[in-house]
Amino acid sequence: MTKFIVKRLLLSVVILFFVSMIIYGIMRCMPTSFVEQQALTLSQRPGSKSYQEWLTQLQAAYGLDTGVVQGYFTWASQAIRGQFGDSWYYNQPVVQKFSSVIWYSFALGLAAFILEVLVAIPSGIAAARKQYSATDYTITVVALVGISLPSFFFATILKYVFSVRLGWFDLYGIVGRNHQQLSDIGKILDMAHHMILPVITLSIVSIGSLMRYTRTNMLEVLNADYIRTARAKGVSERKVVNYHAFRNILIPIVTLLGGTLPSLFSGAMITETLFQIPGIGYTSYECVMQGDIPFVMFYMLFSAVLILVGNLIADILYAVVDPRVRVN
């Protein structure tokens, strides 16, 4: 087991190296980069130097005067030591900006995750218990509609109904107009209030796959021999489902959910941008648009780490939850 984990970790490092190299290469090739924009703005000021002079000066200042390969190794050698530099767009250290916005994304992701689990697993089980019933069809259709819903369309409908027509929520933002006047608890409640629509959007859009996953696995378990045995010896249907079957579908579900835990930190770029929640998704969207290389590099790398960690957790959990795997 330890050997397996160590091997996977080493592999992850290699993968990260290549991923960061590719991303750095792409970022450096971006023609509308931050530095060019800055040089253009500065050169248009009255009595300023020419565009070319500004460009040369800024490129030297931002460390872009070297080639792509050399630039990458400069970046990588600092990144290994945990120095990700300053965000150009936000003018503060990348890590500092990151730690100031990540908790919005985490709160959003966690709330959506809990809602998703609470709705998807019971309904998936209900669908599997009565296969081909009206309940089953309804849940299947709802799940597929959730998968198929464009998040921006769903978010717009929610905004239209609840913000415009009913006026229950604000259209944008994480805090209300009178946020500063509120007490500490009031501030938290105000933010929670602004999170409601994004959370609904996120969970509805991602609820479908978990629902279907639960249904498929429940169907498989319910057809297993030990369920038939349990029924044959006269265990009540409720106990069969909630005790015998449920424990067994936990194996795949815990594995899946464990694998998605890291993605709670990854932020939801589209949803956050639509609702202007200042989380990591929205922040990195702004940075991508501005060509802010240090921040985007950090964010992309962070996302890649989350994916790798997620896979690792899923593999480890699989062994932890299911003793049969460990034997082999």
């Binding site: 993968i15 290549f18 198929s148 717009t156 648009m289």
Partner: protein, 559 residues
């Protein structure tokens, strides 16, 4: 056919294998697929979408980038009228007025001192005609008691006038009787709170005419002579009058209102002014006027601080933006005045096309690389799969955003954007199918039929493509139908963010982009609801089909 043979051949036993109709595996899958109601619904939706996008675009009379116009009646400012409160100067030919004449004139009128000195030292005299009309003279002091004592002077003083004509010369008197000072005047100008408009735009008046008509008007005379012609004045209410030529024709119009046209090149006729002044006097809010071309319009008069504005409805050609759904545009028009139904159709083409193209490229890449990795195994497999891992780890959304802004910078045309989007999406997306294919082939190649195939000694490529790949087709088909939905979703998200396909080419996502304007979102539901439903329905249909296919291929899962 088989059944008929069976019926004739009565002596075949009931459990004879020939009696059981054997379906090919493909038929079995098709049969199971068509039994799935949701899959049929999906198939119908997709068919309708294809007809809508590809045939609908042909049948539609409008193109996706045709801009529509409508004429709209807009109330536009036509003319302005102000009551004349300041003296208007009509200067004599060749005469020059002191620069401070306006202020000096006001002071003089207010104080009733009709002889005053301008800043430049010239002595100016005023001859009062009425409260709102004065003749302005340059003066020189004369000391001739004879004139002072003349009958004309006495008459004038009795009438309360400060001027008289003696020997065809104008004299101004300051003070009363013997103490009075006498001045001889030369004409400079006439100051008057009135405007004179010629009936015929070609006519221009001489100072002589101005002087005579305004003098006559101020003194309440009915007729006057000027430059050898005689004219009649017809009073038409407070401060306005019509000047007739001897033969009774209209010659000029005098009013105490200053009326200007707001439109270049439009000459306001005295008739119009007359009607306007009547309307203002009567306090009416609108009046009708027939212009030179015989068109009758209604003009609206509004007043603000004694400033009157005349407005008129005018037909203006404007872009038909956000027209409501109706006969001409079944789904209305968007913010650029383009027909939404046509844009939905053409947008559907692009969305569906991108979905199919991307998935086909993904399948080619994925099957090729996954197949090679799975078949050869060993270090080939290790290297290829690590490569797959690397691509899998690159977050796709930021990458698409970067691509979008790169294309923005190069101002790529809509077609180039479509191609680039297809290429990048498939380069990122193929890793999923590669993993599936590899896993499947890894297990298949250990099976006995592959050992048998190897034993017959056929070529490697034949073993892969004839014996292994057909066994992966179920996974590929299911993956493809689900992935098309995903690609359409990703493309519409990009277009929604304004980074995918751009104007004038339409996609469903870029039509939905209009909701970034909250006003459109709130008031023009017909702009964004249909496009969103299109995306939802299409993706949903592909998912229904994929789901049905999975169940049909793998009946174990269904049970």
């Amino acid at each position: 056919m088989d059944n008929e043979k069976m019926e004739k051949n009565e002596n075949v036993k009931l459990d004879d294998a020939q009696r059981v109709r054997v379906l090919s595996p493909g038929m079995m899958v098709a049969k199971r697929f068509f039994r799935n109601r949701l899959a049929i619904v999906g198939l119908v939706i997709i068919t309708v979408m294809f007809l809508f996008a590809f045939l609908g675009g042909v049948a539609m009379p409008y193109s996706q980038s045709q801009v529509f116009y409508r004429t709209e009646e807009m109330r536009k400012d036509f003319a302005g009228a102000t009551e004349i409160t300041e003296f208007q100067m009509f200067t004599a030919e060749g005469a020059e007025l002191p620069s401070d004449i306006n202020s000096k004139l006001l002071i003089a009128v207010k104080k009733g001192e009709y002889i005053f000195e301008s800043r430049s030292g010239a002595v100016i005299g005023l001859a009062k005609l009425s409260d709102s009309a004065y003749l302005i003279y340059g003066t020189e002091s004369v000391n001739e008691p004879k004139i002072m004592m003349s009958q004309e002077c006495k008459d004038a003083q009795e009438a309360g006038l400060n001027w008289f004509v003696y020997n065809d010369e104008i004299y101004l008197v300051e003070g009363q009787g013997a103490k009075g000072k006498l001045y001889r005047g030369t004409e400079l100008a006439i100051a008057c709170k009135a405007s004179v408009t010629a009936y015929d735009p070609a006519t221009s008046f001489s100072f002589e005419f101005y002087k005579n008509v305004l003098t006559a008007m101020s003194l309440g005379e009915k007729e006057f002579e000027s430059e050898g012609a005689s004219y009649a004045i017809e009073q038409e209410g407070e401060g306005s009058a019509m000047v007739h030529t001897p033969d009774g024709g209209n010659y000029a119009y005098i009013s105490n209102m200053n009326i200007n046209s707001f439109i270049d090149g439009v000459f306001l006729t005295p008739d119009f002014k007359e009607l306007l002044i009547e309307a203002i006097a009567a306090g009416e809010e609108s009046f009708e006027y027939t212009d030179a071309e015989g068109e009758t319009d209604t003009y609206m008069v509004s007043e603000k601080n004694k400033q009157y504005t005349v407005k008129r409805y005018q037909n203006t050609r404007v872009i038909d933006t956000y027209a409501s759904p109706g006969k001409e545009h079944l789904l209305g028009t968007d913010g650029n005045g383009m027909d939404l139904l046509a844009r939905l159709m053409y947008g559907g083409r692009i969305s569906l096309l991108i979905g199919f193209v991307v998935v086909i490229i993904e399948l080619l890449l994925g099957v090729l690389i996954g197949g090679i990795a799975g078949f050869f195994g060993g270090w080939v497999d290790t290297i290829l799969m690590r490569f797959v891992d690397i691509i899998y780890c690159i977050p796709s959304m930021p990458l698409y955003l970067i691509l979008g802004s790169v294309m923005d910078f190069y101002k790529a045309g809509p077609t180039v954007r479509i191609y680039m989007l297809c290429v990048v999406m498939s380069v990122i997306g193929w890793v999923g199918i590669a993993r599936i294919v590899r896993g499947q082939i890894l297990s298949l190649r250990e099976q006995e039929f592959m050992t048998a195939a190897e034993a017959t000694g056929i070529r490697v490529s034949r073993r892969i493509f004839r014996h292994l790949i057909p066994n992966v087709i179920p996974q590929m088909v299911v993956f493809a139908s689900m992935e098309i939905g995903g690609v359409i979703l990703a493309e519409s998200t990009l277009s929604f963010l304004g980074l995918g396909i751009k104007y004038p080419a339409a996609t469903w996502g870029s039509i939905l982009n209009a909701v970034n304007d909250s006003y459109v979102m709130t008031n023009y539901l017909f702009v964004w609801i249909p496009a969103g439903l299109m995306i939802l329905l299409t993706v949903l249909a592909f998912n229904f089909i994929g789901d049905g296919l999975r169940d049909a291929f793998d009946p174990k899962m269904k049970r």
